[in-house]
Symmetry: C2
Subunit: 209 residues, 2 copies
DNA sequence: CCTACCGATCGGTAGG
DNA sequence: CCTACCGATCGGTAGG
């Protein structure tokens, strides 16, 4: 918990986080050096340690902030208005928009899954997996409600949530491959992809309400 | 192109590749050190340079071999027998089986997308993207045929192939999160996920053949 | 296949 | 916020 001194040092802290997220995303955990991050800010390496006590702490806070920002930006599908179909479509749009606008956040999460080694890597991986399971549970609750409303198929909510995660991960992978493209080409087809997905999980012809 | 001397040195080369793939997968490109790879083989670092002239060449060959093995193991969906639905299901099964049995191959590909820096990183990324586009084109041809046969919906083959890639990437992401689990839990639901996916892209009620 | 070694860079600290 | 520095490790080479 670093203490805040004045407005300027908060601002430097923000710039530090932005630079670090960029370098971690581009080069991986080990490949991003503290010297490299400092250079992006026009500073020398030791100055960074006024803001974060170690590289590990810096990475961990970036990851936590990314997950929190993501979660906030994509909103809770359960709390939207309209049909469950509309709610999920809105949730998808928010999530994709966040990922498009914050490519580093997505890259940090991918990194954290596997490519951070040792005891620290295990902590990071466990943290991420926990968030993922929480999200999965939330979506299971959403699909259970959608099922009660007769909007989705009669598979278990667990399977429906798993199908949603599969679709969402797939879309985000397209985003990952589109780094560098100003206008990712798959975005032009997002709505068609969504419609095909929804058709797969929508309730069958007869309504049972 | 290293020259083969005798049976023993080929075997050491194979062990080197296996060890290197494992360490790259676990720690990323920079995080995996030549010393670390050598230690896994009970050798000293300089000995590795009898087999590969540099770390970059080693990584590149591992990536190419992984892609080739993957491509061979998952087969061409177009060349299977049976309905297009059956062909695609078989293709999915082979791909998932390969990924489950060769987690390092998958990890190397994820690595290569983003976390290899500099000029070498650009080469690697371009190589991978090319393979992906080739695969996408192949699947577009598959879906064009399936459409002629009246098995799939009337979206363009491009969109259908994109939907397939989305589904497949999503499934492989589940696999990525399941590293360490002896029996990835999502595999128990693979067939249900497949059915929901197929329902989304299958031809609508009336047949137009 | 090894020992010995190269210059460069790593995360982090001391001290101001 | 800096200079100066720590021991460790990096990819790679020389020479045998």
């Amino acid at each position: 918990m670093p203490e805040l001194t004045d407005a300027e040092s908060v601002s430097t802290r923000d710039r530090l986080r932005a630079a670090a997220a960029e370098l971690f995303a581009e080069r991986g955990y080990v490949g991003a050096s503290m010297t490299g991050i400092a250079k992006m800010l026009g500073l020398r390496k030791p100055s960074l340690y006024n803001y974060y006590p170690s590289k590990e702490e810096l990475f961990l806070e970036l990851l936590e902030r990314s997950l929190a920002a993501w979660s906030e930006a994509s909103g809770s599908a359960v709390e939207e208005t309209g049909s469950y179909q509309e709610r999920l479509r809105t949730h998808l749009g928010k999530t994709v928009d966040f990922a498009a606008g914050n490519p580093h956040a997505m890259a940090l999460c991918r990194l954290a899954v596997a490519q951070v080694a040792g005891e620290f890597g295990d902590r990071v991986q466990a943290h991420l997996l926990e968030e993922r399971v929480d999200y999965q549970r939330e979506m299971e609750a959403f699909f259970a409600q959608a099922q009660d409303a007769g909007e989705v198929a009669t598979e278990t909510p667990e399977v429906l949530a798993l199908a949603w995660l599969t679709f969402l991960d797939g879309v985000l992978t397209h985003q990952l491959f589109a780094v560098g493209e100003r206008r990712p080409y798959f975005l032009d087809h997002l709505d068609e992809l969504w419609r095909l997905f929804w058709r797969g999980i929508a309730a069958h012809g007869e309504s049972d309400v």
